[in-house]
């Protein structure tokens, strides 16, 4: 069941690129507030082309994060799936909103993602409370217009 119109290749390419940016070595003070690029890209594709990837892609992205971050398998996968599901549910409404409104939505989603990750951290005995971990949703929301515009150029709007 593949639609010729879906930007599958672009989706895979941008996801790989985002994962690379997630792994890029950064100085300590910068690494802690690195925006969750992969989640941003997943959110974009969920809103722009939910049929191209959908929740399966979100799940794979989350699993990749679990492996590379050395987290419990399924932790980030669950968080990304949840965020992707909400984004897909609202995708038609979100497409008609302004960038600012979308950014606010993205902020809420990134915060929810971090809450889920943090909760599972606590359940599995990794609880580290640092105010720094709440910085990246803000940066991610601020970056959303750039990400959305850049990714919008990779495929024809439908």
């Amino acid at each position: 069941m593949s639609w010729p119109g879906e930007p599958r290749k672009m989706l895979a390419l941008t996801m790989l690129l985002a994962l690379g940016m997630q792994l890029l070595p950064l100085p300590v003070w910068l690494a802690i507030m690195r925006p969750a690029f992969l989640v941003l890209v997943v959110l974009y594709w969920c809103i722009a082309a939910p049929r191209a990837g959908g929740i399966l892609v979100a799940w794979i992205a989350g699993l990749a994060l679990d492996i590379t971050k050395g987290a419990v398998l399924g932790q980030h996968a669950l968080a990304v799936c949840l965020v992707a599901y909400i984004a897909i549910s609202f995708h038609q409404r979100l497409r008609n909103q302004t960038m600012l409104q979308q950014s606010l939505f993205v902020f809420a989603m990134l915060a929810l993602y971090e809450v889920v990750v943090w909760t599972i951290d606590g359940w599995t005995g990794h609880a580290v409370n640092s105010p720094w971990r709440w910085i990246h949703p803000m940066l991610g929301a601020a970056l959303w217009p750039i990400v959305a515009l850049a990714l919008g150029r990779t495929h024809t709007a439908r």
Binding site: M1, W3, L16, L19, G20, L23, L24, P25, V28, A31, I32, P50, R51, G54, I55, L56, A58, W59, G62, L63, A64, I67, T68, K69, G70, V72, L73, G74, Q75, A77, L78, C81, L82, A84, Y85, I88, S89, I120, T124, G125, H126, V128, S130, W132, R133
Partner: protein, 334 residues
């Protein structure tokens, strides 16, 4: 545009059942988390998947590696001569230090009433190079380019020439993840070299700091004290340098002292680490608390730190009681 036929995608846009899909994936995630937390067969799955991710990690780190390679290739003659000079000086000093080593070894054997000197504590080493570094308050981890293919196994001690660095947390076919002693989830049984006081050093998530949270107020520890591994806990042998105490504050209203230390080994200095194998029969080798057997079963359960019995009336008993419950805590608390 109107299609008649078997194309299931109608113009009205019959959307797939996203709610159901989400439910299925969420259940898969929870099952994965449950089994991964318990350890066992998922370890091998994770190892295989980390092998897939390893090329990407290498590729992402290749620019900085290339930079280092170029810099090392274009160092000039004067720099190399200076480096050579420094190394020669260091070698001479180390030779002087080890000059009387064999005599002392013999003397030690005599004092211990042994027939022959002890075998060397470290019987095998393996040099690994740091592929990527993750240093933050949340995680202090390293990715090293050595894995099961090189004989590295879980809970293996990793040191540098300056002291204890950490231990192997996860191992893939060609790479392994190291948890540093400064990670907030790592606790290491140590003893004060000067007084023999045993306690536990816990990371706080900063590369240059350890805390000693379980030291009673009246125990014998002060600024400048050397901390070495105590050999309890079953991972590190006794006597490896760990840290230097940088501050020892005592608040009379508290029952425990506030002690901070700086690790002797710093990962910023060097990109090479040393995996070590110890002679198990050596008296200084890690105690019989067999972490390997425990970890192969995979007790991934959260191990709370033992709370020392703070009995100020009998300080020696209190300090001796602290590490007795310690062996489990050397294993990274996952």
């Amino acid at each position: 545009m109107a299609t008649f036929g078997s194309n299931p995608r109608s113009l009205t846009g019959r959307s797939p059942a996203y709610g159901f899909r989400f439910f299925v994936y969420a259940v898969i995630c929870i099952v994965l988390m449950f089994y991964d937390q318990r350890g066992g067969w998922l370890e091998s799955v994770r190892g295989a998947m980390s092998a897939i991710a390893y090329p990407l990690q290498l590729a992402v780190n290749s620019p900085s590696a290339a930079g280092r390679w170029i810099r090392s290739n274009f160092t000039d003659r004067a720099q190399l001569t200076a480096e050579n000079e420094a190394l020669a000086t260091e070698l001479r000093q180390l030779k002087l230090k080890s000059l009387r080593f064999s005599a002392l070894e013999r003397e030690n054997a005599d004092l211990r009433r042994l027939q022959e000197p002890l075998p060397p504590l470290i019987n095998k080493t393996l040099i690994g190079e740091v592929v990527s570094v993750e240093l933050s308050v949340l995680r202090q981890r390293l990715l090293i380019n050595r894995g099961t293919a090189n004989g590295v196994k879980k809970a293996q001690p990793v040191i540098t020439a300056d002291g204890v660095l950490g231990q192997v947390l996860r191992v893939g076919p060609w790479s392994s993840e190291i948890i540093l002693i400064t990670d907030a989830e790592h606790a290491l049984p140590v003893e004060v070299l000067r007084s023999g006081l045993r306690t536990i050093a816990v990371g706080v998530g900063e590369a240059d700091r350890l805390t000693l949270p379980y030291v009673p107020l009246n125990s014998d520890i002060r600024e400048g004290d050397q901390l070495v591994t105590s050999g309890l806990g079953g991972v590190f042998p006794q006597g490896l340098p760990v840290a230097t105490v940088t501050s020892a504050k005592r608040d009379p209203s508290q029952s425990l002292a506030h002690i901070l230390a700086t690790p002797t080994s710093r990962i910023e200095r060097d990109r090479h680490v040393l995996f070590v194998w110890f002679t198990p029969t050596h008296p200084a080798a890690a105690g019989p608390a067999s972490v390997e057997s425990e970890q192969s079963v995979g007790s991934g359960t959260y191990q709370p730190l033992p709370v020392p019995r703070a009995t100020p009336t009998t300080p020696p008993a209190a300090s001796a009681a602290t590490p007795r419950a310690a062996p489990d805590t050397t294993a990274p608390r996952e």
